[in-house]
Symmetry: D2
Subunit: 342 residues, 4 copies
């Protein structure tokens, strides 16, 4: 018998991707599926691609429903996780795909979210220096945001090797699933197809402090991040272009060496061969972050481009990867590095 697993928020995009991965995972057994306003309806009405689960009826997202599982994945709107986690036993593995427990600094949380801080949990990015071990014994895991996953994994080798100035500029294009299933006019197909648009400009996006937190920890000094997210006409995928002033010694060769070393042995991180640049289509449905790095000698800047599937490695795949670690399973179990393309 498998590991009893519940998914709260099963009718959203993150919930759907969790279920897609869990149904193919050899160890998890899918138990309760819950939802908010969609409770009482069949999963097939919301996730019609999950044929084998189509007839499952969604329960209310209630601790009583979630009890009795070994693992509970939370894919809920921000602010909903803390209360539920408190009412689940300490031995239950709770993996939160929401933002509530990602930030360690209460002041940053309050500045960007405007509510009291619920405390931080072990951060589910095993590849980031110092995090893998903490996850092996965790019973509460905060899954990183999709943009911070891409950006932190794209830039940490440059900072770890001391090759970059702590003044980062990131512009990232995201597929629309990153905005969730909220019914807003600007997310209608008619508005997004054929158009790229900016939003959350000027440092206001809530993923900014998470990037700052991760990169500052690696750099050992405060790093600023100018982050501009853009919405691209595709359902999935993030392409993050990250740049920082090069420090002395940051030759092209030194950069490649730093990335090769930092990614060595990491199953889900790959520095592409020279001359190849990431495309989000290379990562769709895969748990990988594909990276390329260049030195712009005229501008004196390091440029790192990373592609990731915001729903897979950026959310649900990353969540399962961390859960594997916490459960003592092989870290890669049930996850793939091979995308669906074209």
């Amino acid at each position: 018998m498998g590991i009893r697993t519940a998914v709260a928020g099963a009718s959203g995009y993150a919930g759907g991707e969790l279920l897609r991965i869990l149904t193919a995972h050899p160890e998890f057994e899918i138990g309760a599926l819950t939802a908010g306003s969609n409770a009482g309806t069949e999963l097939g009405a919301h996730q019609p691609h999950l044929r084998s689960l189509a007839g499952r009826v969604l329960a209310e997202t209630d601790p009583g429903v979630l009890e009795g599982h070994d693992v509970v994945f939370l894919a809920l709107p921000h602010g909903k996780s803390a209360e539920i986690a408190e009412r689940l036993g300490e031995d239950v593995l709770v993996v939160d795909c929401g933002a509530d427990h990602r930030l360690t600094d209460p002041a940053q949380w309050e500045k960007f979210y405007g509510t009291p801080h619920a405390g931080s949990w072990p951060y589910g990015l095993p590849e980031l220096p110092g995090h893998r071990e903490a996850l092996r014994s965790a019973r509460r895991i905060a899954v990183p945001g999709c943009y911070p996953t891409a950006v932190s994994l794209a830039l940490f080798p440059a900072f770890a090797a001391g090759l970059a100035e702590p003044d980062v500029v990131v512009v990232a294009a995201s597929g629309t699933s990153g905005a969730g299933r909220a019914l807003k006019p600007h997310l209608l197909g008619s508005e997004v197809m054929g158009s790229v648009s900016a939003y959350g400009v000027g440092g206001s996006h809530r993923h900014t402090p998470e990037m700052v937190q991760n990169l500052s920890a690696v750099a050992g000094e405060p790093v600023t991040v100018s982050f501009t997210p853009t919405l691209a006409p595709m359902s999935r995928g993030i392409l993050a272009t990250c740049t920082a002033k090069a420090r002395p010694g940051a030759t092209a060769a030194a950069l490649r060496a730093a990335y090769a070393e930092a990614y060595d042995g990491e199953p889900f991180l790959e520095l592409l061969p020279e001359g190849r640049w990431p495309a989000t289509s290379m990562t769709l449905g895969a748990n990988t972050v594909l990276v390329q790095v260049a030195l712009d000698e005229d501008a004196g800047r390091i440029v790192v481009v990373a592609a990731v599937d915001n729903l897979t490695k950026g959310t649900a795949g990353g969540a399962v990867q961390s859960a594997n670690l916490a459960l003592g399973l092989p870290e890669e179990l049930g996850l793939t590095t091979i995308g669906v393309s074209p």
Copy 2:
């Protein structure tokens, strides 16, 4: 009788957009249409949306064919314009949509294009300080590149007002028509749909020195530009995110004031109302550049986002705008500020 107008390179995307605009323009009369390998075929085989011209047969791109017109628009591969222009009379207005005559510095030309410099022509960006007057008497016009159009018009007010440090980072998403009609696997629909990818990273894109040239002239000091273009799954449009360190005094209010002043009276430049951000769909088929600006106080950076249709204001519309000036016509004639959306 109208102004006799020829289009060389009529079977490509820039040529098609020129013809779309010219057919609606009250003063131009369409004469010879020429092509390279497509010479001898009907325009309708390549530009099926131009119904009224569908039966026109494409001639060889030959000076003899182009002679006898008042205006010749060149939409040719790089390196083809100089030779043709030399053989056209000095009183003929030649408007070159290619790169051959954009750069003033032969060293930059040779570094990025690898061929001898053909000399520079008056630069067809009337909104850039100092350029409009030169265009009124020009008989040779170099139409700017699509990315430099967006970036130069997005950033010049900040530099003109002394609010930005001369160290610029630009990441821009472009629709695939910007890459032209070349038959390359990575431009196939199957590969571009659902995917954003990077290319020309690390300062290697040929539009970089053009941005440097324009911004340095406005800033009065050398400006470096770290430019990363990305390919987005849409046919048209550029969204350019441009950022530079803020200089002292660069408050949000000072920025808005600088843009308001710089764009005042410009029919095709608009600083959007506060709280609204550009989307490329707002500009499709229009000759506008729509801009928004923000100050990221945490990162100490100015962030400017601009949307433009790469084929209209970014190429063919800009070409017609400059031609209007050179011909003594109203600058806005035959051009619209209203996009086709959704």
Copy 3:
């Protein structure tokens, strides 16, 4: 001074396309703009591509606001037009883009819409035999549905020439703007991109009786239509594939001759040259219907494919075309046959 024109329902897609056309039309002067739940907000919040009107505030859709205009275009949800039209003077030209007055048979109306019939108005499809004259003196015009526009104009020549059996099968792909701006999950970009889906299958789509009405009138006998609409991942455009059993004498040559004759002199209908097939991109923003016809000898069927922009010729352009007629203006005024592509 121009013809004073009001648009009711200005914040929707049909309203936006009306305004896009009207701003470029030499005779109309845009007066009141109204909306339902968006009343009180600026047009720019909903139609950001209409820059010159962005600051216009939307009024309530109220007869008092609409009074005092020479022409009132109604782009309202079904069931709203009759009441408003009644309260506008009989000399005001009312052009209804909604369905309320399209069907002549009250039984069909009630079967498909479930409400009492409001009566029929002159039908705004001038190209359909017998309709142009009626429109010249009309003060009330029912603009056809987008699918019926495509299908009726694609098939009437075959029926007028007696070449087709009265048993039609139509499968049409539509861009998502055809579904309007309603906030429904299946219209979110994440759901429509990368996917074609069927809806309204089995004869239930409300445009079916309109096709039956039009084709039966031309055929002089009852025509049945099996109509299946599908939703395609694009914002605009309809591609309608229409087929009927060939009657004796329906050779390929006879078919081409019938279409050539039926479309002769029609500015907005074109039978493409042999060997070319319609694509919706050829019609974007244009007021054209592009058609090709083939005879499938093995299956004994006539196959007609038509492309149309659902918002232009399929709605707003068709509305302006009919209004031009009713106002004694040239039928083509302010309308184009040239699409925006690529």
Copy 4:
């Protein structure tokens, strides 16, 4: 040690999908990968999403290279398979994704392909009545075309139950990967995005005789098929709308019963619950055919809509499914019914 497997044509879309499936399959071991003009290059240059195979160098498609494998998948242009298969041992399982051996009637082959018939092989559509058993002992398998897969599986229950007249109309929308990786202007992203177009109209598409062959066999009488394929702006997926006149007794209930019976026990065929209609996004990367059926009482027609991933169940997944059968493995091994969405 696994089943030694070669893929000929590994740089194309069908080859890439075969490899995506084979890398996740527990029994196949990937051996030689071959290509035509891409021989000598790395797979990663053509299939960048297949990270674990990126460094594999493509060999020439030569029988000498393919020898020594237990299974050889051929994903070659039409006309290339017969010669290669002849030179492979009779005990090698050869699975041909091309058309060469699909048609049983030499006259039909010659009419549609214009070359001599190479003979027919067991047809790889196990769900079609009478085919599964033949595949269990096959050493040569002809994988069906993508459209015939969708259409044959969508319609056979209606014919098997005697509910449909043998006069079928099919209109199908396909993603661009169905046209392969050929470098043709109409397949460029700039041309396909935002556009649906028709091609192969009037009975000329080569998949037509394959549909006729399959449906006639089930119906026990000659069936005609009017087939119109259209190209939709998506990379993958087919939505086929299939209709035939209803025979007496073809009530809605009788239809559902016929489909329920015909699909009973089939792991990859599903009649959707009433009220739900297929979308191609429900099948992306999955080996399923999702079907819904309706009776249009006014038109007297059965309407069946089917969604399939043209590269998975429509090509590579179907190929693996048949190979599983021929190798005595569980038919479903390594295949999923769960799509990647949104």
